[in-house]
């Protein structure tokens, strides 16, 4: 497949505007400005583009809602708070192809009818911040941002806002709170950001990867784009693979490539010829899969059929040397640390689960601890304010579902044999 999102990224200067322009960059912009905003949204609708942040919400639908809201001004927010453990796909765009994102944001800003864009960048990406700011300056200087883009009178102002290191700020309403200067905690929905978002104005929030698809959709048209990968959720997809594979990294592949193909064809299989033990397919919050369940197509539609989710496309591969109790414990430690504290089940449940898992991993687990853990996690699941708590609970449930004997062994032997 021709690279769309990572086009020219092997070029060490790919982040420079001239390099971007050399490979056809900023060519979609004049084309987009020649279209009516509605036509662009129609084109995106035809393309079948779904949000790449994890939820897979149809992009065109979000845009339609926001542009239909009479309130003004509207805002376009790029969610670059890439915090899901295992995920580093957006970073590739932010650092290697920032102009693709900028071009995509100008196009979507024009389509939605907003003049203001923000990139909410995760606090731990200092390099990306500099690269983005440099790229934004270049874009302003070249007339791709500002008050009269391409001399067409289109206005779009873009600024980077860096987060302070909270996972929860990847959740769109917590992100808005944080952007407004408040503590990052999710808001009550409805109203949804498309109607009441930043400063109570209609706000579209899209992931970096989602917005970066725009120039290509405009270039080739929605029809052509929709033929890439899975018909239900087409397009190129960035899969970022970490863990025990020979060649970890970010791979741009058609949406719907199977997990097996990603691991064994593109990443060169399990490192040092070891056996595959488990895969987390879409970032830590998505259900873990055992080795016999990796023939699933990695897209929003097929993954749930296999008991997991595409999530952010962050594939974490674990070989036979890995203690899954420890992985689970480490995951819960993360969730406990990142729980914002707003709702009871997440605030208390993540801590409790981490404590139980810690006991088991340290060989201090008791009979009944596994069931207690399942009970606690089911008291969380579906009861939390936002998906963070659900994610934490489902990690425990899925690890126990697929690997219960390993947990039982820890309790029974009162130790971890992987230590």
């Amino acid at each position: 497949m021709e690279k769309v999102l990572l086009k020219n990224t092997e070029n060490p200067n790919s982040a420079d505007i001239n390099e971007y322009k050399k490979v056809g960059g900023y060519q979609s912009l004049p084309k987009a400005f020649g279209m009516q905003p509605k036509e662009i949204i129609e084109e995106v609708k035809k393309s079948g583009l779904r949000g790449r942040g994890g939820a897979g919400f149809p992009a065109a639908m979000k845009w339609t809602f926001a542009s239909a809201d009479p309130k003004s001004p509207k805002y376009l927010l790029c969610n670059a708070d890439e915090g899901e453990p295992g995920t580093f796909k957006d970073r590739q765009i932010l650092e290697k192809n920032p102009h693709l994102l900028i071009e995509g944001m100008v196009i979507s800003g024009y389509a939605i009818g907003t003049e203001y864009g923000f990139i909410y960048l995760r606090g731990e990406y200092p390099a990306a911040k500099d690269i983005l700011n440099r790229a934004i300056k270049q874009a302003y200087d070249s007339g791709f941002l500002g008050d009269n883009i391409l001399g067409k009178g289109v206005k779009f102002q873009l600024a980077v806002h860096q987060g302070a290191g909270a996972y929860i700020c990847g959740e769109e309403t917590a992100l808005i709170e944080s952007l407004e200067g408040d503590k990052g905690q999710p808001r009550i929905k409805p109203p949804f950001p498309v109607n009441v978002g930043v400063f109570a104005k209609p706000t579209v929030i899209n992931n970096v990867e989602t917005l970066s698809n725009l120039p290509y959709i405009i270039e080739v048209g929605g029809e052509v784009y929709s033929k890439i990968g899975s018909p239900e959720c087409p397009g190129p997809k960035l899969y970022c693979v970490s863990g025990h594979v020979e060649k970890p990294g970010v791979y741009e592949l058609p949406m719907g490539t199977t997990l097996r193909e990603i691991i064994y064809t593109h990443c060169g299989g399990i490192k040092n010829g070891k056996k595959l033990k488990a895969v987390i397919p879409g970032g830590i919050s998505t259900p873990v899969l055992p080795p016999d369940n990796i023939d699933c197509k990695m897209d929003f539609v097929n993954m749930p059929k296999h008991g997991s989710m595409l999530g952010s496309g962050a594939v974490i591969v674990m070989d036979e040397t890995v203690c899954l109790v420890r992985v689970c414990y480490r995951a819960l430690k993360f969730f406990e640390h990142e729980s914002c504290g707003k709702c009871t089940p997440c605030r208390e449940g993540t801590e409790w689960l981490r404590k139980i898992l810690g006991r088991i991993e340290n060989g201090e687990g008791a009979e009944g601890d596994i069931d207690l853990m399942l009970s606690v996690s089911s008291n969380m699941l579906g009861k939390t304010f936002c998906p963070l708590g659900d994610g934490a609970a489902s990690v425990v449930q899925n690890f126990v579902r697929h690997f219960r004997p390993e947990f039982e062994e820890h309790v029974k032997n009162a130790k971890c044999r992987f230590k």
């Binding site: 909270a166 929860i168 503590k183 009550i188 409805p190 406990e336 640390h337 990142e338 729980s339 914002c340 504290g341 707003k342 709702c343 009871t344 089940p345 605030r347 208390e348 449940g349 993540t350 801590e351 409790w352 404590k355 006991r359 008791a366 207690l372 009970s375 008291n379 579906g382 009861k383 939390t384 304010f385």
Partner: protein
């Protein structure tokens, strides 16, 4: 119409509400912890999760809005599990120190666990610890008990507007801390205490002194402090007030209180209370029996009346006493002592301002509903900080701002600085020019409506140009224009007037100008009132020129009505005002004065001179609850029952008549009863056996309170005139006193008197005067008098915060610590009149505005020097 079904029960709703509210309206209880009817929606505790058909996920009833056809289940097995699960989560880190916790018995978490919760714990680890170390004299925090429902934070920020506390850290480390880090640096309203569902933030005042179920009574009454008239619930055990709490649904304060109302009650149980009458013998006050005291008072008053005539006698009534007390007091003065020399400290501003404004606009000009302020689209404030003087009224102004209304202030108002005010800060003595400028600008913009010729005649000629404002007030054209634009474009403005207007140079003229603004803007006036029954006292006729119901004494027709009712003939001559009484005392023509519940030696300006004047009086009776500065001069001191020990009514600044109820038993007599006893001794029969009898008479004779009964008042919303007749059939000419201003050059007074300092009165949130000084909690929050000066003054005199300084004026000096406040005018030294021997009034001279008869306190030049 929206129809929903909850637990099979069909519910019809007029407008969309939350599922929780809908359920409540149908009598279906859904447990909640974070939700609170006064606060913004939150959805954090997750206890109120319910099942909704067609929505796969459980929904929080407190955030979900009903939609037509919604089918909801709140009592299923799944929901029971959820509630048990959530409560278990809340309990794992909750200390379960219920035997020790003051909240036990009224703890919402405890109650819910009893009903839904797990009986045993599955949690094996140690509970979380939260770093402590925060000691506060009033608010006790215990953050280990905190369930992070954030009610306190939402209250503090979203309702009180103090924004003093926040959730710090995240996840399990979340807890509430004041931004100040250490001791609370807040308004001490204690509204956080009201909403805390557990024992995390509590009042230290009653700590470990009782259990909620040991309370013997709960009495709903009215706050003794300011003129807002908040409803309080006084909780009592063994005739000791244990706690004062608000109640949701009361008309004025609706579940909110301020620091004085909530924490200022301890004066009732003070050991310093007077217990027996005192009679001065050989210059010393000695304990006496009631019989001795009453017969002595009756005898001496009789003698003085016989020897010097009625005009040698005067009475000072009390804005802290009930309507009943004050009614009987003025009746005693008029009927028994036969004099109209009756007045009160309401004369220091409120009475004159109210009379002046009503003379222009007619009855009830200042009687607007307090919560209505929040619906204004602009509030214009002048002459004081409403958030300190009338805190609960101040909250309505904050709510107005929060709802998008504009706050326009003349001068800096500390309590509103976070509420995006548009401020015009005129130089000293140039307020009049600014007001003239505003009137001129509004006249130009809106034109004179023509409906009040009397007022228009007075303001027609006023024409002050923007340039003049710039020159004299030091206000830029840009700022002035912006202010006028916002004011003139508002459609539902309110005007809030503080006492400083009446107490400043040209008070009556300023009131005329403010009235003109009110007229041009068709606004509503709110006249701040510093005392609980200042309004009622005036209603009762405790004024030298007015009979009860503001019936002008000099009109024979009005007089006759009362003569018929009281079966006497009344003195015709207008009596002396409180200041005239002081003058009369000074020149020796006032021979006796009866002072009920007032402390003029402290509460009147130039208090030293007041003291000297009173020393000239042959016979002084002071009826009070403490031995005050004034009491020490008295020949007879009569101990009265205080607020919460007696029945009666107060009338607040909205003219809402409210019931004061007895909550605590104490031996003694109510003020009216003491006076009735004295009357009896002097041969006049005042036949009342209880306060209600007095009120019945008031309702019979006063046109404003006509036909009103305690029963009617209980129903709420007893705002007069109650079936009454118009207040003023006849209005008088508008008179104003506009004294020549000091020659204003560029920069107002500061320009001509560069380097000079003036003493100005501070009105702190935490004090009111005599009562608050005896309330240890309030003293604890604000323990001593301080002189507040600007940074510029501090710099020029090399003073730093905490230095002991000597503040002196022509008439005296005080030594006290200094505080530096950026917002204080550079020509001002701010000093309150709240602390014994350290009152600003001891250093302030005054002149009387001949129209409103209020003291002008401007122009008290002062010096400040370092002592150590």
């Amino acid at each position: 119409m929206i129809t929903i079904t909850i637990n099979g029960k069909e519910i019809k709703l007029e407008k969309p509400v939350t599922v929780l509210e809908a359920a409540k309206s149908a009598g279906i209880k859904i447990p909640t912890l974070c939700s609170h009817e006064q606060l913004e929606k939150y959805g954090g505790c997750r206890l109120c999760l319910v099942e909704v058909e067609k929505i796969p996920r459980l929904q929080t009833a407190c955030t979900l809005m009903v939609a037509d056809g919604m089918v909801i289940k709140t009592e299923t097995e799944q929901i029971a599990d959820v509630r048990r699960g959530i409560l278990e989560f809340l309990l794992i880190n909750h200390p379960l120190d219920c035997p020790y916790c003051d909240k036990a018995g009224e703890c919402e978490l405890q109650d819910l666990v009893v009903k839904y919760g797990p009986a045993t714990s599955r949690f094996k680890e140690k509970k979380r610890k939260v770093p402590g170390g925060l000691e506060d004299p009033i608010l006790v925090r215990n953050m280990e008990r905190c369930i992070v429902c954030t009610r306190c934070v939402r209250m503090c920020e979203g309702v009180q507007g103090a924004s003093a506390i926040a959730v710090i850290n995240r996840g399990g480390h979340s807890h509430i801390e004041p931004f100040s880090g250490g001791r609370f640096d807040c308004e001490y309203c204690g509204n956080c205490v009201s909403v805390c569902p557990v024992g995390s933030i509590m009042s230290r005042l009653h700590r470990h002194s009782y259990r909620p179920w040991q309370l013997m009574s709960e009495t709903e009454t009215i706050c003794p402090y300011c003129g807002v008239g908040c409803t309080l619930v006084v909780q009592v055990r063994d005739d000791i007030i244990k706690r004062v709490v608000p109640r949701i649904g009361t008309p004025v304060n609706n579940g909110l209180l301020c620091s004085r109302g909530r924490f200022g009650y301890e004066f009732v149980g003070s050991k310093e209370r007077l217990t027996t009458p005192l009679i001065k013998k050989n210059g010393m006050l000695e304990q006496a029996t009631w019989e001795e005291a009453i017969s002595l008072v009756a005898k001496r008053l009789g003698e003085i009346k016989d020897n010097f005539g009625s005009s040698a006698m005067g009475g000072i009534a009390s804005p802290r006493c009930t309507n009943e007390d004050n009614y009987v007091f003025q009746k005693f003065m008029r009927v028994v002592l036969e004099t109209n020399n009756i007045d009160s400290t309401a004369r220091t501003g409120f009475a004159g301002a109210q009379g002046f404004i009503e003379n222009i606009f007619g009855q009830g000009a200042t009687a607007n509903i307090i919560p209505g302020l929040s619906n204004s689209d602009a509030v214009f404030i002048i002459g004081g900080d409403p958030t300190a003087i009338n805190p609960i009224l101040g909250l309505q102004i904050r709510a107005c701002s929060r709802g998008g209304g504009n706050i326009l202030t003349i001068g800096h108002i500390k309590g509103l600085e976070k509420f995006n005010p548009v401020v015009l800060k005129p130089e000293f003595y140039s307020e009049t020019v600014l007001l003239e400028g505003i009137v001129s600008a509004l006249k130009n913009k809106k034109g004179l409506p023509g409906s009040n010729q009397k007022l228009e005649a007075k303001v027609k000629g006023i024409n002050t140009a923007v340039e003049e404002i710039g020159e004299k007030c030091g206000i830029t054209e840009e700022d002035f224009t912006k202010f006028i634009e916002i004011l003139s474009e508002s459609s539902t403005p309110s005007i809030v007037i503080g006492k400083e207007i009446a107490q400043s140079s040209g008070g009556s003229y300023k009131l005329l100008l403010i009235s003109a603004i009110n007229y041009l803007m068709n606004a509503r006036i709110y006249l701040l009132s510093e005392r609980a029954n200042e309004q009622g006292l005036l209603d009762m006729g405790c004024a030298p020129d007015l009979l009860p119901g503001y019936r002008t004494l000099t009109f024979a027709e009005f007089r006759k009505r009362y003569e018929t009712a009281w079966k006497v003939s009344l003195p015709e001559k207008t009596g002396l005002s409180i200041f005239e009484m002081i003058d009369a005392a000074k020149n020796g023509s006032l021979k006796a004065v009866y002072i009920m519940g007032e402390n003029p030696v402290f509460n009147l300006p130039n208090s030293k001179a007041v003291e000297e004047a009173l020393k000239n009086i042959d016979f002084i009776v002071v009826q009070d609850i403490f031995l005050t500065e004034t009491g020490k001069l008295a020949d007879v001191v009569l101990p009265a029952l205080s607020w919460s020990e007696k029945d009666g009514t107060f009338t607040n600044m909205e003219r809402r008549i409210q019931r004061l109820r007895k909550a605590v038993n104490r031996e003694g007599m109510e003020d009216w009863m003491i006076i009735a006893e004295i009357s009896k001794n002097m041969g006049a029969k005042f036949n009342y056996s209880e306060a209600e009898d007095v009120f019945k008479e008031i309702a019979r004779v006063s046109p404003l309170y006509r036909d009103m009964t305690y029963e009617e008042i209980e129903k709420g919303d007893a705002i007069y005139p109650y079936k009454g007749e118009p207040l003023r059939g006849v209005t008088e000419e508008i008179q104003v006193h506009n004294p020549p201003e000091p020659p204003l050059s560029k920069g107002g007074l500061r320009g001509i008197a560069a380097g000079k300092l003036y003493l100005r009165l501070e009105r702190p949130l935490f004090h009111s005067g005599t009562l608050s000084r005896k309330a240890p909690a309030l003293v604890n929050i604000y323990p001593e008098a301080v002189a507040r000066i600007s940074l510029a003054t501090a710099k020029s005199l090399s003073l730093k915060a905490g230095d002991i300084v000597k503040v002196s004026t022509k008439i005296g000096s005080l030594e006290l610590p200094v505080e530096i406040d950026k917002k204080v005018d550079s020509s001002a030294i701010m000093l309150s009149n709240n602390f014994e021997d350290k009152g600003a009034f001891s250093l302030m001279e005054y002149t009387i505005d001949p129209v409103i008869k209020a003291p002008c306190l401007d122009g008290n030049e002062a010096k400040i020097e370092k002592v150590k």
